[in-house]
Symmetry: C2
């Protein structure tokens, strides 16, 4: 109660002072409208229903797949039904298709006659293939790039395992992103480095938490013509191999038969909700529509797409017209190429001055605490009214960063467009992310409502601001 | 500290009073020897090393498999090395071999053209097979046997799903066993009932906790000549099917190609540690050596076997000779037939009066709190000294039950032999039990030490007791 009273007071004071100096386009960004947006979003099931449609009806949506194509249609249809102006922007995407995948330890010290130990793994996106009957090679285990280099000739012809554990303690302390980044570095760069040293294949320990012997897939860095088979083993199987390696040398039989097909045709779904007096300027609000193939991509990034769609639903229900055009984008191919983000940037690079800001949600549907944004420090104060309206739902934190760092909006951000993201609890996110378990039941419907409340309030606020928050001397209109 | 002081006092009082009345065979069951056993077990890694050998070197041990045969050899060798007298008791076991397994939802309301939804499942032990190319049938979802019966003709030719959720809350409250029993009832009886009504196949929702889209296998009840394909789907996939069924009818394509082969030859491993003045009487201490095939059976029941083996290791290190013979048994085929327990009973049914008691550990390697036992109420008081010695390691609870209910020792118990089990925290046990995730890393080495301390103290105590704790007027020697 205490904080609510405090907010009411500060909102009143602020609204009065703003009217006095005329700095804001009231009523567009007035506290009452923002509160209406917030409260309406907190009551609506619409975004959850869209998330259910996307995950239950379409399912996995890897770039180039039938699922990705169906998802483009489904989201475009839903946005058209709301009355948004929908454009499908063509994007050529990598087309990687998972094949057979299996592995057994066929030699190790203490192995009883006739016994092999199964290793649970899944190919990494972009992985090359073994022969159809598999390959057999010694396993070399390393825990750093330095150790890989030090192993030198031993690597040639071997299967390299990067056995680097995900730092769940770091994730629990609130730094899931950096914990993931550390592990994903091995996943992305490790196989290519091993290939350069002549390895027959490369394995990484799954990047993510949880202890249920599920592998976490993800993209690996590939060089055309030099792809080696690359897979993520479960934490359990990485630990097994490390334990067995203490007893003596290991040999693995590995079968991975994914295919790297020619680039496929796909689309960014772009849905405009037209602005009024500043209609030529846009505020992007977005998530990525593609997902990995093992699950239905509920957290990654169904919640981002549903949250962005929910912005328009909320404003439509309240019959609110923004000053700037709100552009919902469901990006294609964030996971293994970010071709959607690149294509959008290419098509819009001479219109950057018309891009006021971009929001991207891609950290899962965990509890939102507020939002982050890459504005300059002097701009932070202009977000006080937005913080105040989100505080009563526990989402009033604004954390400024030099770089927000979302993938699809990365090219825009690097060119000076401020990028915003919801600030969410992602301590459990990497338990599910890129695994078979990223399914609808993992998304808390209440948190998705709160997510939509943050996304919509933030989008509306940006679409109606007077201050130019651009970072690199953007032109004024 | 308080409770330790209390124990020391009561032990002193008790020892004094026992010496006075001469009721116990001191020093064999004296508190000092019991404390020595307890403290030695708490310091030893031996049992954990045996568990590592069993899980890392042998791995899965389903009855009839090469793993089961290798496990028999490994455990027999280890017991021979300790100097125990090892017998391999022949047992004919069911020989069921997992085949291909996959499922997709091929029709549902709202399905985009070209899309099918994958369902993650695993065949139940004893399952029949679909044609190699699979079968396609409507899905009928029920939540009780009553509902199954009420669906009548609809069941014929359909794939029945028993969508009954595991009650994790009940498990958290300390009643994991009954929670499991409820779900396992559907797994065991459901497919047979569905078969009787003409179902094409039967699915059960996985019986166990955790939310990582892993299926839990287990045995299903089968009638020769009337086996239908039967599998466990993950909780996530059961929920998906239930959600989709709200939108309209479902059809599934299901492929399961397990084989039911002729019974195979296998063995109970029986290792005797000879008694002294009552050498013709035996105290059994046991776990089951077979495991499901998806994992390495670390908790189920590697910890039981390693714990039983640890009894002999502990006594040998202390050079302690029991009055009665201690008989370690690693049972074969607990999981899908309990043929080992039945064979032992058949071979020993005219020697039941020589079976003083039997201990079986098969609830996983969670934290032990004490022990349970099926003695009559007047016998409980004779266990006070044992409780006192286990109390300082937090394992001093003795919970009497009319029936302990362990599987392999069931025939002995029903014939009047008192059965004991460690009392353990099994609230997380069913997260791993029968899944691919029941691996060595899940076993806490400290808890395994405590487990061995309880098993050894209890075994030693029973082997040296004067009171006859038999339940059905057993003959005195
Ligand atoms: Zn993502
Ligand atoms: Zn068991």
């Amino acid at each position: 109660m205490k904080s609510v009273i405090k907010n009411s007071l500060s909102l009143t004071v602020l609204a009065t002072s703003l009217l006095a100096v005329g700095a804001y386009a009231a009523p567009a960004n007035d506290p009452a409208t923002l509160a209406q947006i917030r409260d309406n979003a907190m009551k609506s099931d619409w975004a959850y229903e869209r998330l259910a449609d996307l995950t239950d009806l379409v399912g996995p949506r890897l770039s180039g797949s039938a699922g990705a194509a169906a998802a483009v249609e489904q989201v475009a249809d839903a946005m058209r039904k709301l009355g948004a102006k929908v454009t499908l922007q063509p994007v050529k995407v990598p087309h990687w298709v998972r094949g057979a995948e299996s592995a057994e330890l066929v030699e190790y010290t203490g192995r009883p006659a006739g016994i092999t130990q199964k290793v649970v793994l899944t190919a990494l996106g972009g992985s090359g293939a073994t022969p159809a009957a598999g390959l057999t090679a010694p396993v070399v285990i390393v825990r750093s790039f330095e150790e890989l280099k030090a192993k030198g000739a031993q690597v040639k012809g071997s299967i390299v395992l990067f056995d680097v554990a995900f730092d769940q303690e770091m994730a629990n302390r609130g730094h899931a992103g950096p914990a993931y980044g550390h592990g994903a570095g091995f996943r992305f760069a490790g196989p290519k480095l091993a290939a350069d040293m002549g390895a027959a294949a490369a394995l990484v320990r799954s990047v993510g938490g949880a202890d249920y012997r599920i592998p976490h897939t993800g993209a690996t860095g590939v060089v055309e013509g030099a792809r080696i088979p690359a897979a993520a083993v479960t934490s359990e199987d990485a630990m097994l191999m490390s334990r067995l390696s203490v007893r003596g040398p290991l040999k693995m039989h590995l079968t991975l038969t994914p295919q790297n097909l020619p680039d496929a045709d796909s689309f960014n779904v772009i849905a405009d909700w037209p602005g009024t007096d500043k209609a030529d300027e846009v505020v992007i609000v977005s998530g990525h529509l593609d997902s990995w193939d093992l699950a239905t991509g509920a957290h990654d990034d169904g919640t981002g797409v549903a949250g962005a769609m929910g912005v328009i639903d909320t404003l439509k229900k309240l019959n609110l017209k923004p000053r700037r055009t709100i552009r919902v984008i469901a990006w294609m191919n964030e996971e293994n190429g970010t071709r959607g983000g690149k294509a959008y940037f290419e098509a819009n690079k001479d219109k950057l001055d018309k891009h006021f800001a971009a929001i991207e949600s891609d950290s899962g549907g965990g509890r939102p605490f507020g939002f982050i944004g890459s504005v300059t420090p002097p701009m932070v104060k202009y977000f006080a009214p937005l913080k105040d309206v989100l505080e009563p739902i526990g989402a009033g934190i604004f954390e400024r960063r030099d770089i927000a760092g979302a993938a699809d909006t990365g090219p825009l951000e690097r060119a000076g467009v401020p990028v915003f993201e919801p600030l969410v609890d992602s301590s459990a996110y990497f338990n599910y992310h890129h695994t078979p378990a990223d399914t609808l039941d993992k998304v808390n419907p209440y948190e998705l409502k709160r997510h939509v409340a943050v996304m919509t309030s933030l989008t509306w606020y940006l679409a109606n601001m007077d201050e130019n928050i651009g970072r690199v001397a953007p032109q004024q209109d």
